[in-house]
């Protein structure tokens, strides 16, 4: 039982990071109907910015704030410089997905060029060797911090979307773009803001993932695919679904690795997702596909 709880806890901590990535992906999918394959690389850029600033001797919280800003700037610039012109020319959704893949190539190349391929140790104020014993299980400082950060970020996002005028505008825009425009909502700005917020969420995930693995230009790719899977599991247009999907995926993967097979733990998680999707094709909490012929 202790073993089960221990693995469930580490799964929750990993899953909360997947949930953050998934939240960003869902936010972007809801507003622009684009699956963002550059999500990992936006986060990587932000994390590397934080890394450079901490190495230059800045306090962690300042570096963290700058990293969030850097990720958001990359996303907003991409939205205005690539997505908007392509949409004006009548690009379909798949074309826009490919644009994000192009951005991923560019960001990967630039991070490689700027910071090199050498794995770096990310200096982080919380350590994963300092542990507390709670009943039969051990909780590391890092796992606790990760859970707290994910919960905090989700809460801020919830308040932003449900309790502010800007959030209302975001919901209106994702519900019906033309109607929102007619009502005088500056939809371009709102969509760009959604991209920026999504990238910042990914940077939070990146900064908290970096200390438990090494920091190199590709360290977020695995988390991106897990985030995509989590988003689909929860339903691609449901924000609570993204959190639920991320947590379920993290726990399933951790328990699968512990009890079934360590090498195939990613495959096991994907099998679970396909099984869930066969029962609920729109994800656990998603609502889509009410089409008329």
């Amino acid at each position: 039982m202790a073993r089960f709880l221990q693995y469930a806890l580490s799964g929750l901590s990993a899953g909360s990071l997947y949930a953050l990535v998934a939240l960003g992906l869902v936010l972007i999918y809801r507003s622009t109907r684009v699956l963002n394959f550059a999500h990992a690389d936006m986060a990587t850029v932000g994390t590397f910015v934080a890394f450079s600033m901490i190495s230059a001797g800045m306090p962690f919280w300042l570096a963290f704030g700058m990293a969030l800003l850097a990720g958001a700037v990359v996303a907003v610039v991409f939205y205005f410089a690539a997505l908007v012109p392509a949409q004006r020319k009548g690009a379909n959704h798949l074309g826009q997905v490919i644009l994000t893949i192009g951005l991923a190539f560019i960001l990967q190349g630039l991070t490689l060029y700027q910071w090199g391929a050498e794995p770096e140790r990310f200096p982080f104020p919380l350590s994963d060797t300092k542990v507390w014993q709670v009943g039969p299980i051990f909780v590391s400082e890092l796992a606790l911090g990760t859970l707290a950060a994910a919960a905090g970020a989700s809460l801020v996002l919830y308040l932003l979307i449900q309790r502010t005028r800007l959030g209302l505008a975001m919901r209106a825009t994702s519900e019906n773009l033309q109607a929102a425009q007619t009502l005088g909502i500056p939809t371009r700005g709102v969509l760009a803001f959604a991209w920026g917020v999504a990238a910042s969420l990914a940077v939070v995930a990146g900064v908290f993932l970096a200390p438990s693995s090494f920091l190199d230009p590709f360290f977020m790719l695995d988390a991106l695919f897990k985030g995509l899977a989590a988003a689909v599991l929860g339903g691609l247009n449901s924000l609570p679904g993204a959190v639920l999907g991320g947590l379920i995926l993290g726990v399933a993967e951790s328990l699968g690795g512990a009890y079934v097979s360590l090498e195939f733990k990613t495959s096991l998680a994907f099998i679970l997702i396909v099984a869930v999707l066969l029962v609920r094709p729109e994800g656990l909490l998603g609502k889509e596909f009410q089409e008329r012929v």
Binding site: F105, Y113, V293
Partner: protein, 326 residues
């Protein structure tokens, strides 16, 4: 482009004598490439042909049947390893190639079952899971992947004392022509029109009497047959197989090739395959800068012409139809 008056005209490949002449000239020039082009071009061109087969397969699935798959690397790996093991066991080239396509096609048919219920991005992620699973199986099961040393593929033996790269080029070009011709025939037949109907609205297609499950599964099977053959050709081309060659970025390459080339267009698939092979090859001297320049190349094509290179080609042809502009 032109007014098509009857079914026979619709089936005809190049409709005007000038077009037909130019097409024949182009094909002859390409077939004789080993005798007039520098050696370095041959390997790149062979890679374009082998990739084209797979990209056409992916385009049949994605552009015509409207089913998105991110798991192409999985079919590629199944084709490549089936081919590799058969070749090592001494089975002749053509039989191994057919078996590679058949194995991938069978698995594709099975993978197609979720597509009966899933749509759009949900299907994409389910197939992404399939690709990841196949990669992990090949990376972890040693007797399948040949272990740490990988799987060496015996090279093709050229007849008549031909140079090996010339023979490889000709074989690949022949296979490419065969599969392209098949694809053109397929899309102008009942099957191709059924795919398009399913893509445009599956409910309406079903109401018109298209058997949805049969044609969705068929689309997956045909597409993965093409991809499996492409994987086998890639195995022969690389001469050495490692699971790393079939990770997720390979699926992304196929995806990029289809969209940059143009959805629902066979010649677009060839353009797309040429794009993903030749652009990095041209930038090859810059080594580390390849992704930094390949990314903007993708962006500029899609911002300039979101419907891909095929539409760019169509517009060029339309423009020159009035030549010499009197």
């Amino acid at each position: 482009m032109d007014l098509v008056e009857n079914y026979r005209e619709e089936l005809r490949f190049a409709r005007k004598p000038l077009g037909r002449t130019l097409l024949v000239l182009l094909l002859v020039a390409l077939a004789l490439l080993p005798w007039w082009a520098p050696r370095a071009w041959l390997t790149h061109a062979s890679k374009v042909w082998l990739l084209s087969v797979g990209v056409i397969g992916q385009n049949l699935l994605m552009g015509y049947a409207g089913l998105i798959s991110f798991g192409q690397a999985g079919f590629l790996a199944i084709g490549a390893y089936t081919f590799g093991h058969l070749r090592i066991a001494g089975v002749p080239f053509s039989l191994s190639l057919a078996a590679a396509g058949g194995a991938a096609g069978l698995v594709g048919w099975l993978v197609g079952f979720p597509s009966l219920r899933l749509k759009g991005p949900y299907l994409a992620i389910a197939t992404l899971g399939f690709g990841t699973a196949v990669y992990q199986i090949f990376a972890n099961v040693e007797w399948l992947s040949g272990g740490r040393t990988g799987l060496p593929i015996p090279p093709l033996q050229p007849p008549f004392g031909m140079a090996r790269d010339t023979w490889v080029y000709l074989v690949y070009f022949g296979i490419f022509l065969l599969f392209t011709g098949t694809a053109y025939n397929l899309i102008s037949s009942y099957v191709g029109r059924a795919f398009v109907a399913v893509r445009d609205s599956d409910i309406a297609a079903e109401a018109m009497g298209v058997n949805l499950s049969r044609y969705k599964l068929l689309a997956f099977a045909i597409s993965s047959f093409y991809t499996g053959v492409s994987g086998a050709l890639m195995a022969q081309y690389l001469g050495h197989l490692e699971p790393q060659a079939f990770n997720i970025s390979e699926s992304m390459t196929f995806f990029v090739a289809v969209i940059v080339g143009g959805l629902a267009s066979v010649e677009g698939s060839v353009f797309g395959a040429a794009f993903v092979v030749l652009v990095p090859a041209m930038l090859g001297s810059l080594r580390g800068a390849v992704p930094v320049l390949f990314g903007p190349a993708i962006l500029s094509v899609l911002i300039f012409e979101p419907l891909g290179l095929a539409v760019m080609w169509l517009k060029t042809r339309l423009y020159f139809r009035l030549w010499p502009f009197r």
